[in-house]
């Protein structure tokens, strides 16, 4: 079939209207010409698993990138389930890109990757127009690397250190920012632990007229806030440092006045070590707030209530369980625009409840907040009835993560498994994309998930299920599944081997403390050459394991890069050529 192809220039122009990666990927599949045109004009690439592809493959396909987003370690690394040294090194990427993209690359966004000072220095000197550096949950670098970024990236707009682990070698890295105006729009240093040089910080803020987001570290005391806020009244997002001080009326009135001056403020965070008497200082901005992160603030009701009930436009609230059921009821009454709620445990390891936060609080919010679609809730008790009510109230739920602190907890009233409750969630919430399960659950919940959760993309599962049937239901039924992470469940070889092909349609599968045998891993790797099957075992060299031995941790991901070679001794990638 002969097709009149549009001239390349026209195609390029048309493609420039396509911003989503999905659309651009579709366009690349139409024909060779479109593939070629598209790849040369693609500017932004997202790589959800840094080991799915190599820097060279990326550079060969996309010769001119402006922005790269890379994700490294699996999500369970956040909870110390991935041993140190596993991998996710960004250095090879930076090295390759510094050769190929020196004039075009402007933005690097990393999550759960290991970053070195050498890489940061290389970034700062290689990319002439570097603008955005976002390091979320990264590690491996020090303030020396940050000093290089500050000194050399003359057009830096965003520097966000997220929740990274940064070694604080010196407090003066801020002084490396150039004199004169900077183009900073966003600065997040909340993860830094050590002292800050205040005059450097003051100077930087004064010289950054475009600054919209500023998140300070705990080291910045409350007394400094009025001065800093007065230098940046245009802020849209602000994170305080330690919010504590001896109560003095002049400090209070200065702070209140400073907050009043921030007419554009929409988001607040920080609030470590709160002195409750200073909370009213933020009252002037409450009515404008759409985002409030109090998840470090050990404040209780009524102080907490008084604050939150003033935030009528709140869309996102992160808070500790000190809010209790009563506070959540008040939240439900005051904040009708609430979309996202995260309630963190104040005492996760205590055997007894230290606060009165139960399933009732979540039910109240689900009832009172019609736009609620994202939930992360830590609690100690749950019932099927509550979950059914929540599902009925909020069929628009997109992300539902419930963590009942004690594993395998049943419905505390009926002592039954929570299958019916979670089942209602997946049945009613047809747009559900992310789900985390906890409590006592049998294979039945997985039957419901496989049958109903057709849009589910990420599922996290811990201490649940009865048998391989559970895993089989999920792998065979969840059409949109991209990420599956499992720990301490009785899932073994059968379901995995029966659904081997499914694994190539997903980004990754994590299974730890399950019953998958070493032999099954070998078999799987022979069957599926485009999967990397990583067996992680800190107990001993994997070579000494017999075929039937269950592996400690298993990480399976699709890749076009083949096996990697940067792994530590306790990681083995099953080789499809292994004769047996």
């Amino acid at each position: 079939m002969a097709s009149a192809s549009l001239p390349e220039q026209v195609l390029k122009h048309l493609f420039s209207f396509l911003t989503s990666d999905k659309d651009r990927n579709c366009v690349s599949l139409v024909c060779k010409l479109w593939y070629e045109v598209e790849r040369r004009c693609r500017r932004s690439v997202f790589i959800g698993n840094c080991y799915a592809v190599t820097p060279d493959i990326m550079i060969r396909r996309f010769p001119q990138l402006t922005s790269l987003t890379l994700k490294g370690k699996p999500h369970f690394a956040d909870f110390n389930l991935v041993p140190d040294g596993w991998g996710a090194y960004v250095d090879p990427w930076i090295a390759a890109m510094s050769q190929s993209y020196p004039f075009c690359l402007e933005e690097i966004r990393l999550k759960r990757m290991v970053v070195t000072d050498e890489s940061l220095e290389l970034i700062s000197t290689s990319f002439h127009n570097f603008k955005v550096l976002i390091l979320l949950s990264c590690e491996g670098f020090t303030t020396d690397g940050l000093a290089a970024i500050a000194a050399n990236c003359r057009n830096l707009r965003e520097l966000d250190l997220g929740e990274s682990e940064v070694e604080d070698l010196s407090s003066d890295w801020l002084s490396h920012f150039p004199d004169g105006c900077t183009s900073l729009v966003s600065l997040n240093i909340s993860c830094l632990g050590s002292e800050i040089n205040f005059s450097d910080l003051e100077r930087l803020i004064t010289c950054s007229p475009n600054l919209k987001t500023l998140r300070l570290s705990q080291a910045v005391p409350l007394e400094k806030l009025p001065d800093l806020l007065c230098r940046a009244p245009q802020l849209v997002e602000f994170g305080t440092g330690a919010y504590s001080s001896e109560v003095q009326s002049d400090v209070f009135s200065n702070l209140e006045e400073a907050f009043s001056g921030c007419k554009k403020l929409e988001g607040l965070s920080g609030f470590w070590d709160v002195t409750p008497a200073y909370l009213p200082a933020v009252y002037p901005v409450c009515s404008r707030l759409t985002s409030l992160n109090l998840s470090y603030a050990t404040i209780q009701n009524p102080d907490l209530n008084k604050l939150i009930s003033r935030c009528h436009n709140l869309q996102r609230l992160w808070v500790l369980d000190y809010i209790e059921d009563t506070g959540l009821q008040a939240l439900a009454a005051s904040c009708k625009d609430l979309q996202e709620l995260r309630v963190f445990p104040s005492d996760p390891f205590g055997p007894e409840p230290n606060v009165s936060l139960t399933e009732q609080g979540l039910v109240a919010v689900s009832d009172g907040c019609p736009k609620l679609q994202t939930v992360l809730y830590f609690c100690r008790q749950m019932t099927n009835a509550a979950l059914v009510t929540i599902a009925r109230n909020r069929p628009n739920m997109i992300c539902f993560r419930l963590c009942i602190l004690e594993p395998r907890s049943p419905d505390y009233l009926t002592l039954e498994p929570l299958d019916a409750g979670f089942g209602a969630i997946v049945e009613q919430c047809k747009e559900l994309r992310r789900l985390s399960l906890s409590g006592l659950l049998t294979d039945r919940i997985f039957e419901y998930i496989g049958a109903h959760a057709k849009k589910l993309e990420m599922l996290s599962v811990a201490f649940v299920g009865d048998s391989d049937l559970g895993l089989h239901h999920v792998l065979s039924g969840c059409e949109s599944l991209r990420k599956l992470e499992i720990r301490d469940c009785p899932f073994g070889d059968k379901a995995l081997l029966a659904n081997a092909a499914k694994l190539e349609t997903m980004r990754s599968l994590w299974m730890s403390s399950c019953s998958v045998s070493f032999g099954a891993c070998e078999l799987l790797s022979q069957k599926m050459p485009r999967l990397n099957i990583e067996v992680i075992d800190e107990n001993g060299p994997p070579d000494t394991q017999s075929e039937s031995c269950p592996v400690e941790k298993l990480y399976i991901y699709r890749t076009v890069a083949g096996p990697r070679f940067d792994m530590p001794g306790f990681v083995r990638i099953m080789n499809q050529d292994a004769a047996h």
Binding site: F79, S436, R487, D488, C549, E552
Partner: protein, 180 residues
């Protein structure tokens, strides 16, 4: 334990073992090697004590969130009200108040008080063996039993929990407390 697979895909499944064998091999597999978290759970069920065996990575809370919680657990006070105690200084007309929770060491506390009253204060520190400076004033406190004690003898946590008020005492009056 037999399981029935309705889905036809499993009819052509790959499995270990000879055709016709059932799932018994699976229970053998799980007995060969127990994961540490399995062991933890079984310990929990067997023991009658209420102490929990902590499971690695559970609950799924990031480590920097756990650390914050632990810090606040140590303070026995009512969290929302702080631990304000009155501070008097001999010869000064007005009393002040400070929140004891926010000082990580005696040095920090002393510095704060010196700032507040604009006067150097001596403190007895076991390591030094005497007051820190040639000041006439010494820091003392009234404890739960109503006794006046010299600040610095006991660990800070213990001091914070038993201190009801502070008094910056003139050196000559402090002699009765010994040590100088």
């Amino acid at each position: 334990m037999t399981t029935i697979y309705e889905n036809n895909d499993l009819a052509t499944e790959l499995r270990l073992g000879l055709p016709g064998t059932t799932d018994e091999s699976k229970t053998e597999l799980s007995n060969n090697k127990r994961s540490s978290s399995d062991l933890n759970h079984h310990d929990q069920q067997d023991s009658s004590s209420t102490s929990k065996v902590q499971i690695v990575g559970w609950p799924p809370v990031r480590s920097y969130r756990k650390n914050i919680v632990i810090q606040t657990k140590n303070s026995n006070c009512d969290i929302s009200q702080g631990m304000y105690v009155k501070v008097s200084m001999d010869g000064a007309p007005y009393l002040r108040k400070i929140d004891l929770r926010f000082y990580k060491s005696y040095q920090e506390l002393l510095k704060a008080l010196e700032n507040m009253f604009k006067h150097p204060i001596g403190i007895y520190l076991e390591k030094e063996g005497n007051t820190t400076c040639g000041s006439n004033y010494v820091l003392t406190y009234e404890d739960k039993d109503g006794d006046w004690m010299l600040v610095g003898d006991v660990p800070l946590d213990m001091f914070i929990n038993s201190c009801k008020r502070l008094r910056i005492m003139k050196g000559c009056e402090a002699k009765g407390l010994g040590c100088i």
